[in-house]
Subunit: 217 residues, 2 copies
C-alpha cells in the first residue's frame, strides 16, 4: 500500500473530487466481489492512495464506505426509471429496463450480494436504501401510467412486477446471463402487460388503463 | 420468571416434547413481534418454564432458538406446496396458495420481519433457510407441471412468480390484509397462467405446457 508517486491520485483533487474518486473505486470493487471480500486496503490500492487517506474521508471505515457506495449506486438505479413521459408507454418501459439491466450487467457480483442479503455488512440502513430504490421505481412507473390516484390493486401489481424484475435479474446473473438482454427486456415488458390485464379483470381503474394502453400502442 | 406450579409446563415432558413446546412458544412470539423484540425471558414466560430450562435446550441462546423456530416454520411452509398430483393443475395451485396464505395470515409479523431482512438476528444461515423454502416451492410447482426436464425459461418463470407471490404477501400484510384472501389467491393463480402464456410465446416447452393446461382445464 506504499503511495506510488506516478499515479493520477496525486493530482490535487478537491474534497468532492477525491470523495467521488474513492466511491468509484469502492463501487467497482463491490461490484465484482462480495462486500466481505473487499478491504479498505483494496480500496486504497484501487484508488492509488494511502489507507489513512481513505480513513480521512470515511472515518467509519468499510461500513461507511459501503453505505456511501451503495447510496451512489441507488441514485444511479433510480435514474434508470426516470424516462421522459413521451410516446407510447411500453417502449418507455423498455428503455428504462435497458438502463436497469445494463446496470445489473455492469455491477453483477455487487448487485447479487446486496439483493440476496446475508452479507456481513448488511444492516437495516442498507436494507432501507434498497427499499428506497424499489419505492422510487414504483413511483416512476405509476407516474408514467398517468393515473391520478392509483388504487391498491394497481399499486400492488406494479410492486409485484418490480420484485419479479429483481428476481429475474438475480436469476439471469446466476444463469450466466442467459437469455440475451434484449430478449429478457422484451419478456419482462410483455409480463407487465400480461399482469396488468389480469388485474384489469378485477379492478375497473386498471381496466381503463389497459384500454388506454391498447389505444396508445 | 418464577416457576408457577400450576402450569402445564410441569407435566413431565419427554425431551422431544419439551423442545417442541419451546419452539411453539418461540414461533408464536416471533410471529407477532420482530425477533429483536423477543427475549429469552419472554419465551420462558410464554412456555411457563424457567429461563435456565430454555438455555438447557438452546445453549446458543436466542440466535439458536430463532434459527430452530425458523427451520420449523420453513418445514411447515414447504408442506404448503406439497399437494397431491391429481386433478387439473390450476385448482391444485389454488389449494397450495390457500395453505401458504393461511400461514402468512397466522404468522404475520414474523413473516414480514424475516422476509424484509434487516433483522439483527438475520445471518447467512437464516437467509439460506428462506432460500431453501423458495427452492422447495419451485421444485414442487415444477413437479406439478409434469415437465420431464424444465428448461431455463420455464424455471425462471416459476421462480419469478414465486417471488411475486412473496411480494404480494408482504404488501398484503402492509395493506391491512386487503384484498380478501380468496381474491388474492385467485389473482395470483391468474397471474401464473398469464406469465406462463407470455413465456410460451418465446419457449416451445412452455407453449406445449400451456396447451396441455388448456386441454386439462
Amino acid at each position: 500500500m506504499t503511495p506510488q508517486a506516478a499515479t493520477p491520485a496525486y493530482r490535487r483533487l478537491s474534497v468532492e473530487e477525491r470523495r467521488s474518486q474513492l466511491l468509484d473505486a469502492a463501487l467497482s470493487l463491490f461490484a465484482h466481489r462480495a462486500p466481505e471480500d473487499v478491504s479498505l486496503d483494496d480500496v486504497a490500492e484501487a484508488a492509488g492512495v494511502s489507507r489513512p487517506l481513505v480513513y480521512r474521508y470515511f472515518p467509519g471505515g468499510k461500513q461507511q464506505l459501503y453505505e456511501a457506495a451503495l447510496r451512489s449506486a441507488a441514485e444511479e438505479l433510480e435514474h434508470c426509471f426516470d424516462e421522459p413521459r413521451e410516446g407510447p408507454l411500453l417502449p418507455r418501459l423498455a428503455r428504462a429496463l435497458d438502463r436497469y439491466l445494463a446496470f445489473v450487467d455492469l455491477h453483477d457480483a455487487g448487485f447479487s450480494a446486496l439483493l440476496q442479503g446475508g452479507s456481513v455488512v448488511e444492516t437495516s440502513r442498507t436494507t432501507a436504501i434498497v427499499d428506497g430504490v424499489r419505492r422510487a421505481a414504483a413511483q416512476h412507473i405509476l407516474r408514467h401510467l398517468d393515473v391520478a390516484d392509483p388504487g391498491p390493486r394497481l399499486r400492488m401489481t406494479v410492486r409485484m412486477w418490480i420484485t419479479a424484475v429483481e428476481a429475474a435479474s438475480l436469476i439471469w446473473l446466476d444463469e450466466d446471463k442467459q437469455p440475451p438482454l434484449d430478449e429478457l427486456r422484451d419478456w419482462l415488458v410483455d409480463q407487465f402487460g400480461a399482469v396488468l390485464s389480469v388485474t384489469a379483470r378485477r379492478d375497473p381503474q386498471t381496466a381503463a388503463l389497459v384500454d388506454a394502453l391498447a389505444a396508445d400502442g
